[in-house]
């Protein structure tokens, strides 16, 4: 009976935000494990309690940390589908922000009606606030809030504190949606490359470069793969003789004959398109074109807008290479986003 009575008395305080006055609110309170004396009667019983509280309006504001302005949110021109970039906006007039001013970032999908989470140290969301310094939260660069849901409006606000009993209320709210969906567009602009006559002993470069275009909002970027059909230039008329591709990045100048590919240039509107090894050599250094799908370009583990990658084909024959006009290979180019 006593237990039920106590339960009924305490329940309202536990379920609500906590006891409060016009100036204070007890946000959380708990008790330690108590004393260690196990005798039935003792003068050493003790109970240790901890309380989190925040101040509200009134004179107590003299002890309150400044209320942060609304943070800046970015979805990178609607490219971020599972993250948002947040920068805390906070300044003090007399210098840099001291490291003992700590901030917590609250995030909601319903403007804090029924859904409130907090950014954690690992940049994901969870139920308990994490207090970190301005620098730890990324300073003026900010940080990405990770593992968000695509096509969802997010609200974010920031509170600060500097020592005990100084927590400010959360400041104004910023809001921004994540991108609608994952995107990947890719195109191959070149479908034929004729090397012409392979003069024995000379490295012949395709007279034109092949070009790919790629755009993706994939946070982990995208990869452009190449693979060939014949592992070389094969002639049916010459009895299926094949000018074999190089096995790794090799300089055709030093080989009697060979066949390979070399990335030449990249460009992009935003992001970064990178020529991957072994295709990033110079001069006559080429990478293999065999039947294994190999990475030619990557977007450096990040989204990219209007990436353009160009490459060329190089080949060399020797005096021992059977003559024929039907040496050929078919190169397939595919792209995949790592979403």
């Amino acid at each position: 009976m006593l237990i039920i009575l106590l339960l009924l008395l305490i329940m309202p305080f536990s379920v609500s935000a906590g006891p409060s006055s016009t100036n204070f609110e007890l946000q959380n309170y708990s008790f330690g494990s108590g004393g260690t004396d196990t005798s039935f009667s003792s003068a050493n019983y003790r109970l240790f309690g901890t309380i989190d509280y925040k101040s509200d309006s009134g004179l107590i504001y003299l002890l309150q940390s400044g209320v942060p302005a609304a943070p800046t949110l970015s979805n990178n021109d609607s490219r971020y589908y599972d993250k948002l970039h947040l920068t805390i906006n906070y300044s003090i007039s007399y210098g840099s922000i001291p490291s003992d001013i700590l901030f917590a970032v609250a995030v909601s999908t319903d403007n804090f009606v029924a859904d409130t989470k907090y950014v954690q140290a690992d940049q994901t969301l969870s139920t308990n606030p994490v207090w970190q310094s301005y620098t730890t939260w990324g300073g003026a660069t900010g940080l990405n809030i990770l593992n968000l849901t695509k096509d969802t409006i997010y609200y974010a606000k920031v509170a600060s504190k500097q020592g005990n009993f100084t927590q400010s209320p959360f400041g104004p709210t910023a809001t921004l949606p994540t991108a609608e969906d994952n995107t990947l567009s890719f195109d191959l602009l070149t479908t034929t490359m004729n090397l012409g006559n392979l003069i024995p002993g000379s490295v012949i470069t395709s007279p034109t470069e092949a070009e790919i275009n790629i755009t993706t909002n994939s946070n982990s970027g995208a990869l452009v793969y190449i693979y060939g059909t014949n592992a070389g230039l094969k002639s049916i008329n010459a009895g299926n003789y094949t000018i074999s591709t190089v096995s790794t990045n090799e300089d055709l100048s030093g080989l009697s004959q060979g066949y390979g590919l070399r990335g030449t240039t990249t460009a992009q509107t935003s992001g970064s398109l990178v020529i991957e090894e072994p295709y990033n050599g110079s001069g006559n250094i080429v990478g293999p074109i065999d039947t294994q799908k190999r990475i030619l370009f990557s977007t450096n583990d990040a989204a990219i807008d209007s990436g353009i990658g160009k490459f060329e084909i190089l080949a060399k024959s020797s005096l021992l290479t059977p003559p024929a006009s039907d040496y050929a290979d078919t190169i397939t180019i595919v792209a995949a986003g790592t979403f």
């Binding site: 006593l2 237990i3 106590l6 339960l7 305490i10 536990s14 108590g34 039935f40 589908y81 599972d82 593992n147 969906d181 994952n182 995107t183 990947l184 567009s185 890719f186 195109d187 191959l188 070149t190 034929t192 490359m193 004729n194 090397l195 006559n197 392979l198 003069i199 024995p200 993706t216 982990s220 990869l223 793969y225 230039l233 002639s235 010459a238 009895g239 991957e276 090894e277 799908k293 990475i295 084909i313 024959s317 005096l319 290479t321 059977p322 003559p323 006009s325 039907d326 040496y327 050929a328 078919t330 190169i331 397939t332 180019i333 595919v334 792209a335 995949a336 986003g337 790592t338 979403f339």
Partner: protein, 350 residues
């Protein structure tokens, strides 16, 4: 009195415990699929050509899971008619785990781990999804798991970007990744080249000066012929000399070996004027009529082309050394104008 105070304290702790456990249960997150660190679908062919293609599926779980029994891949239906994908029969999607992709920087690229237990499994096809069921298996957070699916996926004929789908595992809590692929007009480059027919022929010199001929020793001089060709059946070389042979106009006399074409003669035991052909580079075959094989031997030249050597395979720089050898009798008319003209020809057998 003390007993009553102790009871109150104990009751208070009991109430707090009930409140704690109750609130924990109340606020505990419902079990739901976690978002994978990343997922990837790589098609073997991206061409929107109504030709079935296979592909590769990769998933990097964000959390470890020991209770996974299925992995499902949903493909875009596009606009339902001309874009997106049409799924074939289940058996065409049978999984393999060979040649899985690599991830990471080139120098430390790591090949993906085969999705456990999936090799050889055919999925269940339902709507736009294929679902592979495997024996209960464990996935480790941070490991990239991949498998290949067979050529059961047909890109429809109109190219389209942003064709999204999902990769998901069951288990606790399971992982899900949303991905996008693209179909394009053409995904291949036709590379062509010509290797022209090649035949190179060169002589190291255009004169052989034998000098004073001896009645006791064999005098020799040589020229080297170099032949390079990519003719698949190799090459043949021929030689002829002038009708008169090594002849002095002033003396109206020729130095000749008594005998006939096709026989090897030894000038150490006879006199005359002979040709010896040696294979120097590339191992060409020397015709028996001129394969003297020693410093004194050779064959009689003719004023019509006779084969001196051949090779049945291409050669980059095959070499023949042509030795002219002479030895005179004591009654040979003296003169400084003994001369002959040798003509050498060769051709490739393409």
């Amino acid at each position: 009195m003390k007993y009553k105070s102790s009871a109150k304290i104990l009751s208070f702790f009991l109430v707090l415990s009930v409140l704690f456990l109750g609130s924990y249960t109340y606020f505990a997150k419902p079990v739901s699929a976690a978002e994978a660190t990343f997922g990837l679908v790589r098609l073997d062919r991206m061409k929107a050509a109504a030709v079935a293609t296979g592909g590769t599926v990769c998933l990097k779980p964000s959390a470890s899971d020991t209770t996974v029994t299925t992995i499902a891949v949903a493909f875009s239906n596009g606009n339902g008619s001309t874009t997106g994908f049409t799924l074939g029969l289940a058996a065409t999607f049978a999984a393999t785990v060979t040649d899985l992709p690599y991830f990471g920087p080139y120098a430390s690229r790591v090949q993906a781990t085969a999705f456990p237990g999936i090799n050889g499994i055919s999925p269940v096809v339902g709507g736009q999804s294929i679902t592979y069921t495997v024996a209960s298996t464990s996935l480790t957070a941070g490991t990239v798991y991949c498998f290949n699916f067979g050529a059961g996926l047909t890109p429809r004929t109109t190219p389209a970007s942003d064709l999204t789908g999902t990769i998901s595992t069951n288990g606790t809590p399971g992982e899900t990744a949303t991905y996008a692929v693209t179909t394009i007009t053409e995904d291949q480059i036709a590379v062509t080249a010509t290797v022209p027919v090649i035949f190179n022929f060169a002589l190291s010199g255009t004169s052989i000066i034998l000098g004073n001929l001896s009645t006791s020793a064999v005098t020799s001089g040589n020229v080297v012929a170099t032949i390079g060709t990519n003719a698949k059946n190799g090459w043949v070389a021929w030689l002829k000399n002038s009708t008169a042979g090594l002849y002095s106009t002033l003396q109206t006399s020729a130095i000749a070996t008594t005998g006939s074409y096709g026989t090897i003669y030894d000038l150490s035991t006879t006199t005359g004027y002979l040709l010896d052909v040696d294979a120097t580079t590339g191992s060409p075959s020397i015709d028996a009529a001129y394969d003297g094989n020693t410093a004194d031997k050779g064959g009689i030249m003719q004023d019509t082309y006779k084969q001196i050597a051949y090779k049945g395979t291409p050669g980059a720089a095959d070499q023949l050394t042509l030795y002219l050898r002479a030895k005179v009798t004591t009654i040979q008319a003296p003169s400084s104008d003994y001369a002959d003209t040798i003509t050498i020809a060769a051709s490739g057998e393409f």
